[in-house]
């Protein structure tokens, strides 16, 4: 054991000193590794931030992490495909499932008309208390107020829709929709609030009213379109989903967000793949330089390696020594690269304004402010890939060095 310690101390000192014998080369290589690692982590943080934002926005628009509805509702979002407000066993099951929040809502296509214009909209009847957790609209009110109770008589519309309809806060508009008997029911509403969404498209589309008010309008007392369930985190909802699925009647359909919006699910799943591909590509570009540095370092030291072998150093120790040299180089580079990445990402975490391409981002489903997100997982991934692949690529040059015949090596000039 002490023998090993002694050996390790020796080869550590040898590796460390060797690293700085040709300090220019070491600096250049450190520069390359630092830039590479910085780019891996920086880019990943930007992408991660963008995808997180897309997922957040997307899930708020669905809305919810899990939805319960009539099996035909998603295909035919009509008032005909509504369900009873939960009671009895379902109510107990929902309350016991352990979700952060659940609420019912009405959602159906409607037409809104001001004195000047009319537009097709998505009319949403909400239980306002839960809405902050579900769609986040109450926090996005720019004028007036949000719906305040289940019986509220007011209407909340988006700023863009108000502009399209040439109407404003306090004005009356007419909302028309279809009741279950195919009759058009219509009534006037006063606009009590205007909201501004991160995604302008939504502003034009979603109009909020109180749930019970819409039930009366559509003559569907006691019925709702959907039950929306949100948990603390959209990433780990599988257990909750299974629990709910087992406890509700088969006549209802339960769907998690990743089944409702497959684009969001694809983005979510692609992100980890993207990180890995990006990190590996950068590593490959680095690996040429790394191998080059090692090959050169060994080439310069052929005589020396022959000599220490002749003096009795075992080939295995030569391999260790070279691998350690490579590892030290990688670790210093990683240290600088990680440091740079943290220093550049942290100041940007308060938000990077990319409103120049806002409508393009909206097309992708992201908002016009980018919040880079530095996650431990991504950093470990980048560092892990660099160290593991770095050591693997160093094995060949190291092994070749150890295989040299001492006599021949000593005779080279």
């Amino acid at each position: 054991m002490t023998g090993f310690k002694l050996h390790f101390a020796t080869i550590f000192v040898l590796s460390w000193r060797n690293l700085w014998r040709n300090h220019r080369r070491t600096y250049i290589m450190l520069g390359a590794i630092s830039v590479g690692v910085w780019a891996m982590i920086f880019m990943t943080a930007l992408m991660r931030g963008m995808v997180d934002d897309m997922l957040d926005e997307g899930i708020r628009n669905l809305p919810g992490h899990i939805q319960i509805q009539h099996p035909d509702f998603l295909d035919d979002p009509s008032v005909v495909n509504s369900i009873d407000e939960p009671d009895g066993e379902l109510l107990v099951a929902l309350n016991q499932a352990g979700a952060k929040r659940w609420a019912t809502r009405i959602k159906l296509p409607a037409v809104i008309a001001s004195e000047r214009e009319s537009r097709g909209i998505n009319l949403v009847g909400v239980e306002p208390d839960a809405e902050a957790d579900i769609s986040g609209i109450p926090e996005q009110i720019s004028a007036g107020r949000f719906i305040e109770s289940n019986q509220d008589q007011g209407l909340v519309i988006g700023a863009k829709l108000a502009q399209r309809l040439e109407t404003r806060l306090g004005k009356r508009v007419v909302v028309m929709s279809q009741d279950p008997d195919n009759n058009i029911s219509e009534r006037g509403f006063r606009i009590v609030g205007i909201y501004r969404a991160k995604m302008p498209g939504m502003e034009e589309f979603n109009v909020y009213a109180a749930r019970d008010t819409l039930q009366q309008l559509l003559k569907i007392e006691g019925r709702v379109s959907q039950i929306i369930i949100v948990d603390e985190n959209f990433r780990d909802i599988d257990i909750l989903y299974q629990k709910i699925r087992q406890s509700i009647p088969a006549s209802l359909e339960v769907m998690p967000w990743y089944e409702i919006d497959t684009y969001l699910a694809a983005m979510f799943n692609m992100m980890d793949g993207f990180v890995l591909v990006w990190v590996v590509i950068i590593f490959l570009a680095l690996s040429f330089g790394l191998v080059n540095t090692l090959v050169m370092a060994i080439f310069e030291r052929v005589r020396e390696i022959g000599l220490i072998q002749a003096l009795g150093m075992r080939p295995a120790l030569i391999v260790y020594q070279i691998l350690l040299e490579s590892l030290l180089l990688l670790l210093i580079g990683l240290g600088i690269g990680n440091g740079l990445a943290i220093l550049t990402v942290k100041p940007l975490e308060s938000g990077l304004d990319i409103s120049m391409v806002a409508e393009g981002m909206a097309m992708m489903g992201a908002s016009s402010t980018l919040y880079p997100s530095l996650t431990l997982y991504d950093m470990l991934m980048a560092n892990g890939v660099v160290i593991i692949l770095g050591i693997l690529t160093s094995i060949l040059p190291a092994w070749r060095a150890a295989k040299m015949d001492p006599v021949q090596a000593l005779n080279t000039t």
């Binding site: 830039v35 983005m267 570009a285 097309m363």
Partner: protein
């Protein structure tokens, strides 16, 4: 002399064959990747633009100046059909079509939905938009026929109608009168663009003008250029034909679909960040190799200077060596990149999640890279330039070399 330095540079490169190959390898790797990535980018942007614009909005539109920001019924183009005929004659281009647009509540026996209803010229519409060709059921509008409508597939599903069924719509006309009619569904189109399939319906322009009390007015003259590259030219030509800028504005597809251009810009920016990182890493590799090769030849360079060579000649030698290495990397990288890209442009490229992305950006399920002169040479060209730049520092160090001291170095 020229010949000698060329030969010297070439031989110097192969004194350390492995090192040279590793450096060239880094170039080949980056160049191949760049050729592929840039070709793929160009290919998908072209497709994104084509698919999005050809579906409906066209390349250019003439509208009332306020219509773009506030698409309201009252911002009209006067005498739209005649003006369009006129334009077709003057430009000698057939793919120009007039449209009017309005909002209506469409009702079938079972359902009602708010829809975007367009009055189109059934004869010329197929030349500016791909929708008429995407009829899945029934047929497209017949020129001049009234009380016919074609609708999107999602809308048809939501309204629970098929071809042959009747549909009534209700909206408000140009003079704020009621605009109501009963029409027969003659065709159902499916574009794959959800927004269009969900909310768009088309009737004949003349019929639309009657129902919505528009008289001879319309809302847009849609122009499709023969090719995307011809748009700018056409735009200049059209600008000269507009005599009254207060009543008519010419809109480029950037204005009509700002999201498209910006999505491309955002994607370009992130892609170029990645490319630049790759290029910088190659430059480091070259810097490393060339600095080493200069430093290890201190003795040799000293001797050459003692024999009468000037530092600038030695510097040229170093840059020539880099140039040869770069040339090799360029040639092999582009060749390899072109071969791989060409192969993929035949079979298409796809990755998990691609199908869901594709729908969002109006792309097909497989991407086909577009090889062009630019996509082949742009990336590798920058790599070559950066490599030569990186060899300047090692080359400049030669100026500091003193022959006597240099010759003493081992």
């Amino acid at each position: 002399m020229k010949d000698v330095s060329l030969r010297m540079a070439w031989r110097n490169l192969w004194r350390h064959g492995r090192r040279t190959w590793l450096t060239v390898g880094a170039m080949i790797f980056s160049n191949t990747l760049l050729v592929f990535a840039i070709s793929l980018q160009f290919g998908s942007y072209d497709m994104m633009i084509d698919n999005s614009l050809q579906a409906f909005s066209g390349h250019l539109q003439l509208q009332h100046p306020r219509y773009l920001d506030e698409p309201k019924m009252r911002y009209t183009v006067p005498d739209v059909a005649d003006s369009t005929d006129n334009l077709r004659d003057k430009l000698g281009l057939n793919s120009i079509s007039a449209r009017a647009a309005g909002f209506a509540l469409a009702s079938s026996d079972e359902r009602s939905y708010g829809i975007q209803i367009f009055g189109v010229d059934a004869k010329h519409e197929p030349l500016v938009s791909t929708l008429p060709g995407l009829i899945r059921q029934g047929r497209y509008l017949v020129p001049g026929a009234s009380a016919e409508i074609v609708i999107g597939s999602v809308l048809a599903r939501n309204l629970k109608v098929e071809t042959g069924d009747e549909l009534s719509f209700l909206g408000s006309g140009f003079d704020d009168s009621f605009a109501a009619a009963v029409v027969r569904v003659v065709g159902i189109f499916e574009s794959g663009i959800t927004d269009l399939d969900r909310s768009v319906a088309q009737v004949n322009l003349g019929y639309f003008q009657d129902i919505f009390a528009m008289q001879q007015r319309g809302h847009a003259i849609v122009i499709r250029a023969p090719h995307i590259d011809a748009v700018e030219q056409l735009q200049i030509q059209l600008a000269t034909l507009i005599d009254d800028e207060s009543s008519i504005a010419l809109r480029h597809w950037d204005d009509l679909q700002p999201g498209l251009k910006q999505a491309i810009q955002a994607d370009m920016t992130s892609a170029w960040f990645m490319y630049i990182v790759l290029i910088v890493l190659v430059a480091f590799s070259v810097l490393n190799t060339q600095l080493m090769s200069v430093l290890e030849r201190t003795h040799e360079f000293g001797t050459m200077m003692a024999l009468g060579l000037k530092p600038s000649q030695l510097a040229r030698l170093v840059i020539l060596e880099t140039g040869m290495m770069t040339g090799l990397g360029l040639l092999l990288g582009i060749t390899l990149g072109a071969v791989i890209t060409w192969y993929i442009s035949q079979v298409g490229f796809s990755y998990p999640g691609m199908a869901e992305m594709a729908v969002k950006f109006n792309l097909p399920e497989r991407l086909y890279p577009a090889i062009s002169f630019i996509s082949l040479f742009l990336g590798p060209g920058i790599v070559a330039f950066a490599s030569l730049l990186a060899s300047i520092y090692p080359a400049l160090r030669l100026n500091r070399l003193l022959p006597i001291e240099a010759m003493r170095a081992v």
